[in-house]
Subunit: 289 residues, 2 copies
């Protein structure tokens, strides 16, 4: 695996791979890799011959300076994991190269209004901007994003459509730890006790799944069952429990279309997110965690 | 010359040209071509083997609906002119294909704050968004913009730098009609009398040039000489006369760096713009119209 922070070198190596007829796959990350990231590489391998990964903790998508500073980093460990997963090219750009006198921003309106967009102002603008930059540097054919960050994945998909990036976006299932906690680099910050209590998010989603699949379409009741489950585990704060339209990412009052049930809650100082897809099917809805 | 409105077809044709080892040149326009546009193609030919032009009157960059509707259009004439100028591929996208449920916008902050950005809110956001789309569709190696729209050219250059588009941007000199009026598709709207009076913009810039090259660095006096010249020609309105830093596009109080003297004025209902570059040189400044 070649590792470089040089934009020019990335361009040359990818160009050479393409000249050899290879399709380019790309997994952008903020590092501190876990099985979720590695599953994205596995999926990328099914669609492309040459795997590029980036590790860049993107300051402009953090609305909280301390969250940025505390974001876990371990490049040596990441490099070993990426190499064993089959990554050919690792891009570790330098912040000065990425954002020198930076003035340009990419924004997807409306889809950024609720969920994490409501409580993390500027977050998705930062994400869209860095992903646009990385896409223009790597020029991949396909790029894979995790469904744990479903709002991010849908916003990137919309951005790629609207700006005509010649890139196929694939969304990959959430990988979970034992007990159901969605894998996240931030899980590292959880104490043993917080981690145990954080399982209430997954339990809440499972209870909502039962409710929905048994025919309940009342969003207030669906959200209440999750809230009760999480509150019993004494979170520091519930950021949101929201049922939104899959297409608009705007809250819906009654479950009558493809939807997302999404949760964000703090355990200790660590903000965790999770979600569940709700698909219409004959005679009702089926939920996918 | 191949003419198509199909995004997929453009991608295929450009891809084939590239496979033949050709460098791709691109001149995006809003049509109603004049010698200024054709000079951009000439410059593109010096840097690329395969010339692409687009004609698309981009609704989202017009802050005035009537200005959009009245924008002159003559596709048949444009096609003949483009073909004779050596354009190989003409892209005429359909508005529905370009902006179906569109939510994504690209913005260059700070550089859009003054000059046309101040009096045409949203204009440069619309420009950056459509140019990003066109770049991602055409994937050119080089793209040429006219210096008549200098703020636009500098904003596009900054956007390309900030978002790492793998494209070389070239800015081309303003082409002028007899008497010095900067060529513009909008000149078509001028009556004979308005056109004569509009020459005052060029005369004003020439007087400012004399003043600056004779050593005057007082921006108030420099702007006043232009204002006097234009006002004597009874414009409908002077939108702005501004002396700005070349780097920041923010107004400067004293001429002590590379700068731009820019003018926007209405004659009749037609808004005209023009500008002059002011280069520092040994012992003072030299002006370039």
């Amino acid at each position: 695996m070649k590792i470089t922070g040089s934009i020019a070198e990335i361009r040359t190596i990818v160009q050479n791979a393409r000249k050899e007829g290879k399709r380019i796959g790309f997994v952008p990350t903020m590092g501190y890799l876990h099985k979720g990231h590695l599953s994205l590489v596995e999926i990328s391998k099914q669609h492309a011959d040459f795997q590029v990964m980036s590790i860049f903790v993107n300051r402009i998508q953090f609305n909280d300076k301390k969250d940025f500073e505390d974001y876990p980093r371990d490049f040596e460990r990441d490099f070993a994991l990426a190499q064993s997963a089959g990554v050919h090219l690792m891009f570790t750009p330098d912040e000065r190269d990425m954002y020198q006198n930076h003035l340009t921003y990419v924004e997807v309106e409306s889809l950024s209004k609720y969920l994490c967009g409501a409580t993390r102002p500027g977050h998705f603008r930062g994400v869209c901007t860095v992903v646009s930059k990385l896409f223009n540097i790597v020029l991949p054919d396909v790029s894979v994003f995790g469904r744990k960050d479903i709002q991010q994945a849908l916003i990137i998909e919309k951005m790629v459509h609207d700006l005509n990036f010649p890139i196929q976006i694939i969304t990959a299932p959430t990988i979970r730890e034992e007990g159901g906690l969605a894998m996240s680099s931030r899980n590292k910050h959880l104490s043993h006790d917080e981690r145990t209590r954080a399982l209430s998010i997954h339990r809440g989603l499972l209870k909502a799944k039962s409710l929905i699949e048994s025919g309940n379409r009342n969003t207030t009741e669906i959200k209440a069952v999750i809230q009760k489950e999480i509150e019993a585990a004494h979170p520091q704060k519930i950021d949101y429990i929201e049922l939104v339209s899959y297409n608009s990412l705007h809250p819906i009052e009654k479950l009558d279309e493809k939807a997302i049930l999404a949760v964000a809650a703090f355990f200790g100082n660590t903000r965790l997110i999770d979600n569940m897809l709700i698909h219409p099917c004959e005679g009702g809805f089926t939920c996918e965690l």
